[in-house]
């Protein structure tokens, strides 16, 4: 009967949500709460544990001293997301639209290099683009390029490293979104007098937007916190917020400021993602 179904079903959603909810509570909410506690603490001395004291000055210090690093982190992450999109979308589109029976193999080829460790792939770039490499030498031979030209040791090598390392996170969601599209829609668009470009732009691209949205988030968020790329491919002048947090925590032993920096990073990213999702709309994500 309808009434019985209602009674039995009442707890089902809770039951289904509880494993995930418990996991999130234990491994996300509790650590964030602990972090907030530490961020509001002061340390009586460098080597003792911090004591909770409703001390908001740590947030002020975090913002005033490290504004440059915050700015650079988001700039590099934003550029990396943009470049990953420019490179990743055409690739995903080619595989989805023209791959035919080779689709799975091609996507596998995209993913396989990324089974190697993140660190090794980044360090490999220092060999490929280092001052002594063949590539750099070749570039130096070009007109207008000076003899002391260096690929690495500047902002573009860091952005390049980030783009490379997070590229599959952009390609795969876009591919998944494109794969679901019936490409006969382009034929239909053609029948309605649309040029191929218009057919793509007005039919295919909007349908793939959920993939673009997911891919952008998957690239931007980790890239904003990354510090490995700048460590190997950059210089102290390209430092980012991830290395500051690590330094404040491990070397300076200044846990309150490190916690404040982490919370700021999370807050800024959350706000950015909320704004971004408002612009995109998330209804399509569930499709």
């Amino acid at each position: 009967m309808a009434g019985e179904g209602r009674k039995n079903g009442r707890f089902v959603p809770w039951a289904l949500l509880s494993p995930g909810g418990l996991f999130l509570a234990l491994f996300f909410l509790v650590p964030v709460w602990a972090l907030a506690r530490i961020a509001l603490s002061t340390k009586p001395s460098r080597f003792e544990d911090p004591a909770f004291a409703w001390d908001f000055s740590n947030f002020g210090t975090a913002l005033s001293d490290y504004g440059g690093q915050f700015g650079r982190s988001f700039l590099y992450a934003g550029l990396a997301t943009l470049f990953a999109f420019i490179i990743g979308y055409p690739l995903a589109y080619s595989i989805a639209a023209y791959g035919g029976k080779w689709k799975d193999l091609l996507i596998g080829l995209v993913v396989i290099p990324f089974f190697t460790s993140f660190l090794i792939r980044t360090i490999a770039w220092t060999s490929i683009l280092g001052p002594q490499s063949v590539v750099t030498d070749a570039f130096r031979g070009l007109p207008l390029v000076g003899d002391d030209f260096n690929f690495i040791g500047n902002m573009w090598s860091v952005v390049g490293g980030l783009t490379y390392n997070f590229l599959p996170f952009m390609i795969l969601p876009i591919y998944v979104a494109l794969e679901k599209i019936d490409f006969r829609l382009t034929e239909a668009a053609g029948d309605l007098y649309a040029t191929p470009v218009a057919g793509f732009w007005r039919v295919i691209f909007p349908l793939s937007l959920p993939g673009v949205f997911a891919g952008s988030l998957l690239v931007f968020i980790p890239a904003a916190g990354d510090f490995i790329n700048t460590r190997f491919l950059g210089t102290p002048k390209t430092s980012v917020i991830g290395s500051v947090v690590q330094d404040q925590f491990l070397v300076q032993l200044n846990y309150p400021v490190a916690a404040a920096l982490s919370l700021f990073l999370m807050a800024i990213i959350t706000v950015a993602v909320l704004i971004y999702s408002k612009l995109f709309g998330t209804e399509g994500l569930a499709a």
């Binding site: 209602r6 707890f11 089902v12 909810g21 360090i123 001052p131 210089t235 300076q252």
Partner: protein
Amino acid sequence: MSNHARRPAPNTRAGVSNVTRRRFIGRSGVALGGLALGPSFLAACGSDEETLDSGSGSGDVTQDTKSLYFASWPAYIDEETVALFEKDTGIKFNYTEEYNDNNEYFAKIQPLLSKGRAIDPDIIAPTFWMAGRLIGLDWVQKLPLDKIPNASNLNDNLVDPTWDPTGEYTLPWQSGFAGIAYNLETTGRELTSMDDLWAPEFKGKIGVLSEMRDTLGLIAKSLDIDISKPTAKSLQPALDLLAEKVDSGQIRSFTGNDYMDDLSSGSFAACIGWSGDIAQLSLDNPNAKFAIPESGGTLWSDTMVIPTGADGVDAAAEFMNYVYDPVNAARIAAFVQYVSPVKGVQDELRKMGGDSAALADNVLLFPSEESSKNLSSFGQLSDEDEAALDAAFSKIQGN
């Protein structure tokens, strides 16, 4: 009869109830309020254990003479010595290579030792300045020197060092020195002084160590600053010079152990590096050279200390006695290729013959008397000076 009773009400298919998003968040919030108390309980449980007083541990803790846990650096002992120690003494020896970085390890042990609780290892191997910090914090106990007669084999220049003036808390494990490591093929010439690092043709190809005392120490010595009694003020010129070279792009990056690949490939023309690294690297790449700068190099030691509350003090003493026997010390030195703190190792290496005998003549393991005069240790810093220098050095690194 209508079908109203049979037809389920809208929006209430079986299995779906009326949980809305608002209701879920509300009820979760209540659950979380309860959960928020959880961590406080955990913390409270944690501090219920007894605290151990510092100083000698053997009074309060039952001594385990049958097993030893030594947390040390990677590639710092040969397997033969580990096996032989177990065989000769019958002590179960757990040697791990978990000590990768002084600051990382300090962050690991700080929560326990600051509350007076013991950590698992019986011996740990902090670098000299970290050992000095641990002594100051009372987190290590005095060595039972009466059970370590071989401690008299300690090299004279390491007796009662600046980081352990009474010599009661530490025994050096290995020493080494920092200087200029360079790729002869890339530089095209031999480098002999710190000024060579600042040559314009090496712009963007110079690396320095993230180990503050080695980098700042070498630069300070090149500016004629005495590093045996350092203060934040006296080292300011060195900091300024370092900042200038980073700003101009002369120095490309700060490295840990990871400068060797880039040095080998020529990505770095020259680095501030460690003697033992080049000793090992030069076996594979004859272009890898090491030079103590004319203004002097910095001498460092990794030390053995027994943390407070360790229960293997007697076993630890046996081990320290074992490795301070010149025969065993020579075997270790042949593998590790750093400067052994034990007297008589050079002769023992010659007796071993073969490759080991060749090491006896290697100046990176046995610096000449002349070179030794040019090597000195970075003195101990006060807590405030250390904090100030760490912060300033980190700023130069971009943090």
